[in-house]
Symmetry: C2
Subunit: 365 residues, 2 copies
């Protein structure tokens, strides 16, 4: 680990702050980060130099010299995100602030092959780059949120459920060659929770994005980072058993949350089942935020949200201090694609990982 880690870490702190507050000042940043004002000056100067921040006038205190005010330049960096489901490909363009600037969905052929996906992806990405006139230093890369199981560390799909042509496909590598851009691949729900985290800032430290979309999954954000697990296969929350003698699930077990949820007679019952599963998650992991999403949940969004809020109130002990924020995703059906894009930004402008050095700072002179 070089000294560069410190620099990147502090720059990432400031960027994260800039994402969640309208304006920045030297003094307030120093307070939040614990750095000295002098050090903050240097960090701010570097970020202005890189184009990520810009001056935004001054604040005049009741007495004394006016303070220089800065703000994020959201458009200075962008990334493209893709959400691959069994039926369609959704592409979004997001900026540094986590705003979705464009979103298009195109159908995919039934049981599509890797080549068919790559064709569709390349065509969509090329169009988007042309339409928006995106240049290389500005466009950070492409993220792909995909149904699992897959190996996130290498970007290889191990064998997507119900897609025959996807056994051990090195998707990240293939897409990089095809697009000529950096590509990261991750499970759909893990990408999705990254979107929520990127937009909400650092109070969002322990959370889950619970998604119902054909199956049930939960992307996990634990201790301020995505949790992927030992084989990057975490989030198969839908295959946790909630009814030992319940109906047979596609995975072979009995009474998986997903199977019980699916067979519920009406949406209200289904929501109650899911809510119980969410409380299980809270008991085990003690999350501060539950975000709900997915194409099969959002049509009954308020119903689900109320069911979960109700379960949190009635099924979880320690009411006074065990506060859980329950909400629907503000990104709707874009959440996975947007999260995949933000993973690209997060890799470069999020908190660095001490175990791996970061690539040599793309556009820094």
């Amino acid at each position: 680990m070089h000294l560069a880690f410190l620099r990147d870490y502090h720059e990432a702190l400031v960027i994260a702050l800039a994402r969640t507050v309208p304006t920045l000042e030297r003094g307030t940043v120093a307070e939040v980060t614990g750095l000295t004002p002098q050090a903050v000056s240097k960090v701010l100067a570097r970020l202005v130099e890189e184009g990520l921040l810009e001056p935004a006038g001054v604040r005049r205190p009741p007495r004394g010299k006016p303070a220089a005010v800065y703000r994020l330049v959201p458009g200075s960096r962008r990334a493209i995100g893709a959400h691959v489901t069994r039926r369609e490909l959704r592409l979004v363009l997001v900026d540094l602030a986590g705003t979705v600037l464009a979103s298009i969905a195109t159908p995919l052929p039934a049981d599509f092959t890797p080549d068919e996906l790559l064709d569709e992806l390349a065509s969509g990405v090329t169009t988007m780059i042309a339409e928006r006139q995106l240049a290389t230093p500005e466009l950070a890369g492409v993220g792909i949120g995909m149904i699992g199981p897959l190996d996130q560390s290498t970007g290889t799909v191990r064998g997507a459920h119900r897609l025959r042509h996807w056994q051990d496909v090195p998707l990240a590598e293939l897409a990089e060659q095809r697009l000529g851009l950096p590509v990261v691949v991750d499970k759909d729900v893990t990408a999705g929770v990254t979107a929520e985290a990127w937009r909400r800032g650092n109070t969002f430290r322990d959370a889950a994005l619970v998604v119902v979309d054909a199956g049930v999954g939960a992307g996990l954000w634990l201790g301020g980072a995505a949790h992927r697990g030992a084989h990057t296969n975490a989030s198969e929350f839908g295959h946790a058993v909630v009814q030992l003698d319940g109906p047979r699930c596609a995975c072979g077990r009995r009474g998986c949350l997903e199977a019980v949820h699916e067979q519920a007679p009406d949406p209200a019952t289904a929501a109650a089942v899911l809510a119980t599963g969410v409380v299980n998650l809270l008991q085990t992991l003690d999350l501060g935020h539950i975000v709900l999403g997915g194409a099969d949940l959002l049509p009954h969004g308020d119903l689900y949200r109320e069911a979960v809020e109700d379960a949190v109130r009635t099924q979880l002990p320690g009411a006074g201090w065990l506060t859980v924020n329950v909400s629907l995703t503000s990104l709707g059906t874009d959440v996975v694609a947007a999260g995949a894009a933000m993973q690209v930004l997060n890799a470069r402008y999020g908190l660095p990982d001490p175990t791996r050095p970061r690539e040599p700072a793309a556009a820094s002179r």
Copy 2:
């Protein structure tokens, strides 16, 4: 964050390595950590200076200058750990290598008060210090593993289950005043999983210690650190529902894993229920290691281990690559107390937390 973070981080890497391998050399450390050999020389010199490492002869390569060999001095730092249950107080002494040097258990009065616990704790700690002639720089502090719920960040017990006199007790603060030593407090199972992690080294990155002892809990070690959650109340795994219409649990819900497990007609059925719960955990979190422990599990240890191994084999898809290491804790009934002690060592000699600076290096000249 100061430059001191880098220093502490690299020292912690070397100490962690020294714990898990018999001997160290400059070259191998450089390879593992990614530092230059020159930097490793400086780190090793500092650690020898502090007494944590010592020279251990030389290795003579086929040709060339012999390499200096170092090894950990396990006895150079020790910590005392306490495990508080409803019936007894267990005290252990551990060293830097994670070896348990002494273990004593004393009964606690029924429904004991904070004062009664502190009396017993002070008496036991004083005895242990006297018997082993522990000096201040050598003894790093005292850790307490306690039944929850509690606030780990402040060391306050919020209101331990079935203990009437434990509403909002600032246990860490009280114990520090009483003992004159640094004290950390944590949930029993979280302390326990720290013991396993400290002894197993950095291949142990995503794991759970599943404990059956009156209740059922799971201490979580995720991404190389203890997972405590938004209100430091994670690990209440026993209160995850596995049978929606199951028996009423003490917590008010129906069909909690703990309740279903408790009412199983025989140990084999109980083990199968727990095993299903463990697979739920694996589906959600994708853990690489499951460690089993607890006073009510260990008497049937092999039965439980085989049940879990069997469930992992038969209930978890993706057999080829989803490898899970299942084992019984090697520390037996000492695991929680030992883990509490290792949390003290971990706070000082484990990987530092970027968000909080470390206290000013106790005994560094």
